[in-house]
Subunit: 197 residues, 2 copies
DNA sequence: GTCATGTTATATCGAAACGATACGTGAACA
DNA sequence: TGTTCACGTATCGTTTCGATATAACATGAC
């Protein structure tokens, strides 16, 4: 996932590691940090894969005359890197609904086709709703014999999942409104979701 | 963290891996799964550390007469394991406020002293509130030039953090109510929290 | 009857991410 | 002058993940 995020950030502009790290923090509104321990190995992996290259260029560090021992390393996307990023953007397969991948992709939704956006939102919705239902069921079964804290935890988790489902419903509704206005189709209510393929 | 959770589960009753895995799923009301790829290595680590031992006993698998090639491996806590678990339960240092550790500890709060419970809840509250404030600040700064999806993501994240803070406040209020009724002290309003030590 | 499917159960693999920390430069400020 | 802070690259060992292999047995369909 870090890989996905890095591709997306470098698609905007070449950058060095420290800058990437700072922006990664902002990407999800502060969720998910990504430490240097992940970042630098990832950059090397991506370089080995041919998705990014170092460029010696980049604005020289604000050194007054003296060049520092270790210069900034600025990375930029290669053609293959752009291609790979495009592939990731277009991927709406089940793994893209995972917790850690979904929000990264969402951060690049503006660059994702409407069709893929909708499929991912729906897939994600199904996944979170399933989890929520599982939580609700096991909480219903167990509620009596749970101590206060375990029950609080379970209930808070359940509410969070529930909130996420409603949030996704709003996003989906937004997508469908866009689509139907584009296609000049009459507005339609939420489609009943077929469950488990 | 898996280690903490396993200690807590085995403190209740000896168990084999598969059973542990199922219960781990329920621990946080369905949040955080813990795959086998984590579990079995962890069990071996813990065994090497002397916190758990295998017991050949355990109810025989429902084999009618024939013993299976590979018997169940039932694990139980050693004395050192119990000690280590007690240490973890009593630990209210900053790492215990981390996302992945807090909820595991919360699941065992019934076995944690009131004093430690309060310190952890307060530490956690401070951490989440700080993150929330950071989110709010960067969202305020950036809101205009964010595309719809990035903004939705940031706003949803912010609301989640906000909800968690309020939830923690309720838990803390509950703790303080308990404490003050025990000590027969007059009820007092929420203490203003000193910020950053 | 036997054949697909599902559950119980143990286990390993490589890849990915983490937290802490080291090292170094320069600016700000007390 | 010294100390603290922001910038910047980097590595270490540890933990966790996801996918997958293997195998015994149970259930129900055909």
């Amino acid at each position: 996932m870090l890989e996905f995020a890095v591709l997306g950030l470098l698609a905007d502009a070449p950058m060095h590691g420290y800058e990437l790290r700072k922006r990664l923090g902002g990407l999800l509104g502060g969720l998910r940090a990504f430490s240097y321990g992940s970042l630098y190995p990832t950059l090397r992996r991506m370089q080995a894969a041919g998705w990014i290259t170092e460029t010696g260029s980049g604005v020289a560090p604000p050194t007054s005359g003296l060049r520092p021992k270790r210069a900034r390393v600025v990375y930029q996307l290669t053609a293959q890197g752009k291609e790979h990023f495009a592939d990731l953007l277009a991927d709406a397969s089940p793994p893209s609904w995972a917790d850690d991948r979904f929000d990264v992709h969402l951060a690049f939704f503006a660059r994702t086709s409407a069709e893929v956006r909708l499929r991912i939102l729906q897939g994600r919705r199904r996944r979170v709703a399933d989890r929520r239902d599982g939580m609700r069921a096991s909480l219903g079964r167990a509620r009596e014999r749970l101590d206060r804290y375990t029950r609080e935890l379970a209930e808070h988790g359940l509410e969070s999942a529930d909130r996420e489902v409603r949030w996704l419903d709003e996003l989906i509704a937004g997508e469908q409104a866009d689509t139907s206005s584009e296609a000049a189709r009459p507005a339609m209510g939420p489609q009943p979701q077929p469950h488990h393929p």
